[in-house]
Every structure is written in C-alpha cells, then in structure tokens.
C-alpha cells in the first residue's frame, strides 16, 4: 500500500446522509439482480463493496447514478430521488462522479479536453477557468505533463488517473469507483490506489467496488459483502476481515486471500 502513513484524521464521517437506498429491487428481464437492498451512506464515508462476480455489486453502484434503472424501492442521492424525471437524473449525475473499469476516456479528445468538456457544457464554466481547474486536478493525479496528449498515448494507470481527474473536475460530492484497478497491470495498480487514498484523505464520500483488500483495510470505514444480489454482510474492515460472520463471507475471503 502507500508508503506514507495514511492520515485518518481528516476522514471524518458526518451525520448528514449522502445516499439513502431503501427496499430497492432490480430485474434484468426475469432475472432478479438486486434483491431488497437497504443501505445508508453518510457524507464522508468510504465504503468498499466486494463479492463474487455476478453478485450485483457493479449494478448496485450503477443504480446510484442511474446508469441502471431500478424497478422497486427508493434511491435518494443528496436529497434528490431518482425517478424517470430527466432533470433529477442530470442533477444527480453532475453531483456524482464515476470511474469505470475500462476508463472510458474519450479517445478523440486530448487529456485536457476530456477534463474540461463536462464543466464547460454542463456547468457552463468559462473555458479558461475550466482549463485551470483541469490542470489543478491533473497535477493532483501527477500527470500535468500529459495534458495535450490523447488517451491512446497513455498507459493504463495514467488513463485511469485521468479518468479520476475528469470526474473531479465536476467537483462531485460523491465518487463511485467500479472496479477501477481490475483492468490494470499489477505495476500500475498502486499508482491508481494512491490517488484514491489521497482522495479519501480529503474526506470524499466514496463507494468502491474492488477486490483490493489492502485498500479496503487501509481506507474503508465499512466493507459490504454481496452475493446473489443481496447484501450478505457488512462491517468495519477489521472485524470484517478478522472475524467474518457468514459462511459465504468466510468462503469468499478464503478464496481471495488464500494465496
């Protein structure tokens, strides 16, 4: 993990509710992917969601910015309920940043243009100001010198850090990470995790689907384990890893930590 000692002092969790999900169900056709999800995320919480593949963890966080539609129950993000109302959806999406497994940078735009596009067109920020913000966040993820290159010229780890910077340029209050390191070579995973840790240290509300258990132990204040579309177990990282309660959790942990 990170060389420097992780500063947990600023990682304060407030009482304010950032995301409230209640009795939420989702189907793909006849397949019941998410079953009775109840979950409250407080502002400043860092939550790691893990579970075997097909357990619905990605689908869950993709429901939070409505890349997936839920059919039953309620999702309230920052006080805005997600319904079919397009205005609400756009409002939530501009408050919630998302980082994808495959980066999804826009290959026809430079790194800088990738970062300024949404602030200019959605937030109506003047171009110059948007560029300054973009450079600020590119410096933060430690690749300001790549600003005028195209995504195809960058390594995977660099692309993922650009994707994080692109999200941050919208000044989101919540960040969603959908397996951000799963498509990366081992030597590049660390640079992305370091960036995410830094973000956590600044008090960002984060939901992260990942198999990086080191990251979960270092940063998360809650680990959620999902299986078959349900939340099976959740706990503080220490308890979760040292003393799992459910048999499924034990099996899963033995499989991913076993060697």
């Amino acid at each position: 993990m990170s060389e420097h000692a992780i500063d947990r002092s600023k990682m304060k969790v407030s009482d304010e509710v950032a995301i409230q999900i209640s009795a939420m169900n989702k189907w793909y056709g006849t397949f019941h992917v998410l079953r009775d999800i109840n979950m409250t995320v407080q502002r400043g919480e860092r939550i790691v969601i893990c579970g075997p593949s097909g357990s619905g963890k990605s689908t869950l966080i993709r429901c939070i910015n409505r890349l997936e539609e839920h059919q039953q129950g309620q999702i309230v993000v920052d006080g805005t309920e997600l319904t079919n109302d397009l205005k609400n959806i756009d409002k939530v999406r501009s408050e919630v940043g998302m980082v994808f497994q495959h980066f999804n940078l826009f290959p026809h735009l430079t790194i800088l243009e990738n970062c300024t596009l949404a602030p200019i067109w959605v937030r109506k920020v003047p171009k110059k100001e948007a560029e300054e913000t973009a450079m600020h966040f590119l410096r933060k993820v430690k690749i300001p010198e790549q600003a005028n290159k195209y995504p195809g010229q960058l390594s995977g780890g660099q692309q993922q850090r650009v994707a994080i910077a692109r999200s941050l340029c919208m000044r989101p209050r919540i960040m969603l990470f959908d397996e951000p390191t799963s498509a990366l070579d081992p030597e590049m995973i660390k640079e992305v995790l370091d960036t995410m840790i830094e973000l956590a240290e600044e008090g960002m509300t984060m939901l992260c689907v990942t198999h990086e258990m080191g990251f979960a132990q270092a940063v998360a204040n809650r680990v959620i384990f999902m299986d078959q579309g349900q939340i099976v177990e959740q706990n503080e990282p220490k308890e979760f890893f040292n003393n799992p309660k459910s048999e499924r959790t034990k099996l899963f942990l033995s499989q991913i930590l076993g060697h």
Partner: protein, 480 residues
C-alpha cells in the same frame, strides 16, 4: 546439467541490417519475384500491360483536335498515319465541350455558373479545412485566380467580375482575422448559388433564406420553455409553412416594390456537368444531416420515432433510385395542389437527397454500433444530456469511423446523378452524348465523349476519395 545461473554484464547496441534486408534488390525479390509462381505472374502481368499499351497507343497518338466532323477526322488520320490506322477524334470535344459542361444554358450567361462553381470552393473550404488559416488562404487565392481568368473568358459583365473578385478578396482578409467567420459565407452560399444559376428577382433567395431565420428564431424563442426536440419541430413546421404559403406572396410584393435581379434561366436549359454538380453537391450537403438524424432516430428508445425512421430507411433502400426519379417527375404532380409548378430539378434533388440519406443513415448506424457502450456511459455519468452527448462524444467518433463508407456513398450519389437522364434531364453521360451523337457531323463517334465525361467524373470522385483519406489521417487520435 546446464548451469541455471546466467547474468548478462553488457547490453548489446543495435546494428545495421545485412544488405539483403534493404534496398531495391530486397523490394524486387519480395514484391515481384518471390517464388516461381509469383515470377510467372509478374511476367504475365508485364506482357498484358505491353499488349494493352501497344493496341491503344496509336489511337491516342493519332488524336485529331482540329476537324469539322467525324468523317473529316478519319480523313486526317488516314492521311497522316496511313490507311486503316485508328485515331481519336477530340475535335468533337473542342466543338461541343460547352454542352457537356453547361447543357443549353445561354452562352452569354455562362459566367454565372462559372462564378457559382468558383465560389463553391470558397464556401466548402471552411468546412473541409476548418481553422487552417494557411490552407484556407491558399484555396481562396486559387478561387480568386480561377474567377479572374474564367470570368474573363466567359465574358462576364464588368460588375459581376469586379463584385466576385472583391468578395473573394474580402473573404481572404476575413480569414486572416477570424477564420471561423468564413462559415457565414458558407451559410449564405446556397441562396447565392441558387440565384446565380436560376436568376430571377434578387428577393427570391433572400426570402427563402428568411425561412431558416424563422426556423432558428422559433427554436431560440421556445427552447427555454419546451426543450430542444419540441422547439426544433415547431421551428421546422413554421419554416415549411413560410416556404409553402408566405414565400411567394412576399417575394412578389417585394419585387414589385424594389426590382432588380438577373435574367431568369429555366430548368430545362440546364444540362451536362452543371446539372450533375448542382444535383450532386446539393444532395450531398443535405443528405448528411438528414442521414445522421435518421441513424439517431433508428437507435431511439421512442417507439414512434424509431418505427418512422426504420420504415423510411427500409422503404427508400428497397426501391430503385429510378423509381424514385419517376416519382419525382410524374407522381409528385398528382399529390401537390393543382397549379403548383414545382421545379423538376428541385424535385429530383429532393428525392436523390432522401435516397442518399437512407443509405447514409445505415452507414452512420454502423459507426454508432462500433462505439463501445462505455462511451455512452461515460457521457451520461458526466451529466451530459442526450443531444450534447451525441454532438460532443458519440457523433465525432461514429462519423470518424464511418468516413470511408460515407465518402463511398457520396461518390455513388454523385455518379447516380447521371440517372436523371431517365426523367428527361440532360445528364452529361447519356443526355448530352446522345445529343452530340445525333448530330450528322458526329454520328458514329463512340469512345471520345464517354472518355471525356468519364475523365471528369474520375477527377471529381478521386478528389473526394483523397480528401477522405486526408481527413482520416488528420483525425486519427486513437494511436492503436
């Protein structure tokens, strides 16, 4: 037992390749003489080329440029190259070139299509070479030079000559200051071109263009309240209303108050490449946006929009272009209110445009389908709405992927303009050639008109093809 331990203590620098890996010898061996089979193929190829050249060369070398008729041509060939020799008779082109270019357009007015043709490049330049000051200046300079010479040769009135040169000069100056503003000229060019070609009152193009102002004005006034889709529809509706019911009365009223205009030229006087280029360029310009909308509509979640688009595309693609052209020339008359005289060229342009748009829609849909789902998701996740996501993220990539196929469609469309011969218009290939060959002087001439027309088509289509390759290179940013 081998020793498993090995440590390299010196890294090797790269060295120059051996002689057989470079130079002409390598190229010849790899490309022409690799193996006995390829060697035979190479030799056969050389023989075929030799045979083609030997049989066609005398015909080209014995070309006759000065003659009154085909029989005179043959006499000259026989006199110079001996009895039984063949020779091309380009004298026909020398005498009749203007019909291939202008059809029966009045000779004293040739300067108008020539001017429209020159300015066409000035109007296309800011679209084809957006923001490239040097290229834009070069093209505009060439247009200026072209107009200076050709307008002089075509005997343009002094006023038209000076006006066009001042216009081009002004555009060159504009490019130096604000290259982006050149698009304003592109926007008014269609009206200017229409007026130059058909003539008539100066108010006709102005009032017609006001239809677009009505469309844009209605959109801007309503977009805040009704959203983009509804206000765009209302804008289009109002503009169509303007063109159908208000255009003619307003034009007539204005023309009776303040006169002025050019001599009118009727559509049946158009012909040759003037006709092909008019139809081709207009259809290319309008089919691309319509094709994009159809492709997006076909991917829409809205059932009615989707059904309409699919129905339109499949119907148009399922019917031969000639059927549509017959529809244009005959059937449309029955559907339109009695007494409306809807210009035949305009009708043909509309149907050729719709025909090309249906093909383009499918080509662009291919480009859209090639984009990974993640691009849509990333655009959504950043909060971009549908139209912005399409315009900024999806279409630039989808269109880039589709460039070769789009340009193929355009080339096909341009060559298809010769099919207007079937509805009695004088296309360069069949229409004009038939007229020339019906002349007693040139009866029996065969290769020369087709080679001439084919060569001009080739130059234009090859130009489009090269431009598309340039564009692909320029837009290549994925570094795969």
């Amino acid at each position: 037992m081998a020793n498993a331990s090995y440590v390299r203590d010196q890294m090797l620098p790269p060295q120059a390749p051996p002689v057989s890996e470079a130079g002409v010898v390598k190229w010849l061996r790899e490309n022409l003489f690799s193996g006995w089979f390829n060697t035979i193929l190479t030799l056969v190829g050389v023989v075929v080329i030799y045979w083609l050249v030997v049989s066609a060369l005398p015909w080209w070398l014995n070309s006759v440029w000065n003659a009154e008729s085909l029989s005179q041509c043959r006499e000259i060939v026989a006199a110079t190259a001996g009895e039984g020799a063949t020779g091309a008779c380009w004298a026909m082109i020398r005498e009749r070139w203007h019909q291939f270019i202008f059809g029966f357009y009045p000779p004293e007015l040739w300067w108008r299509p020539v001017m429209a043709f020159g300015l066409l490049f000035a109007a296309m330049a800011p679209v084809l070479f957006a923001g490239q000051k040097k290229n834009l200046t070069l093209i505009l300079g060439a247009v200026g030079l072209f107009l200076l010479v050709t307008l002089g040769l075509a005997g343009a009135p002094m006023g038209g000559w000076i006006a066009s040169l001042v216009l081009v000069g002004g555009l060159i100056a504009l490019v130096q200051v604000m290259p982006g503003r050149l698009l304003w000229f592109t926007a008014i060019y269609p009206a200017l071109c229409f007026w130059l070609l058909w003539g008539g009152s100066v108010w006709t193009p102005i009032v017609a263009m006001l239809g677009f102002v009505v469309m844009g004005g209605a959109y801007l006034a309503l977009v805040g309240r009704l959203g983009p889709t509804a206000s765009a529809l209302i804008g289009v509706f109002l503009a169509v209303f303007w063109w159908l019911f208000l255009d003619i009365p307003i034009t007539t009223a204005l023309a009776s108050m303040i006169g002025g205009g050019l001599d009118q030229v009727d559509s049946d006087q158009f012909g040759g490449f003037l006709l092909a280029i008019t139809i081709g360029v207009t259809a290319i310009t309008f089919s691309l946006p319509i094709g994009i909308l159809l492709a997006l509509g076909r991917q829409s979640d809205m059932l009615i929009v989707k059904t309409l688009c699919v129905g339109f595309i499949e119907f148009i693609r399922g019917v031969p272009l000639i059927t549509l052209l017959f529809t244009a020339s005959l059937l449309l008359q029955y559907f339109l209110p009695p007494g409306t005289n809807f210009d035949i060229i305009l009708r043909v342009i509309i149907l050729v445009t719709l025909f090309a748009a249906a093909y383009l829609a499918e080509v662009i849909r291919g480009g859209l389908a090639a984009l990974p789902r993640g691009q849509y998701e990333a655009a959504d996740a950043l909060g971009l709405d549908y139209w912005r996501a399409q315009r900024l993220i999806i279409l630039p990539q989808a269109l880039k992927i589709s460039i070769p196929a789009i340009v193929s469609t355009f080339i096909g469309l341009f060559k298809d303009t010769t099919l207007v011969a079937f509805v009695g218009l004088m296309d360069p290939l069949k229409g004009v050639t038939q007229i020339v060959r019906a002349d007693i002087d040139w009866k029996g001439i065969y290769w020369e008109p087709y080679i001439f027309v084919g060569a001009i088509f080739f130059v234009i289509c090859f130009g489009m093809s090269r431009y598309s390759m340039y564009l692909e290179r320029k837009l290549k940013t994925d570094h795969r």
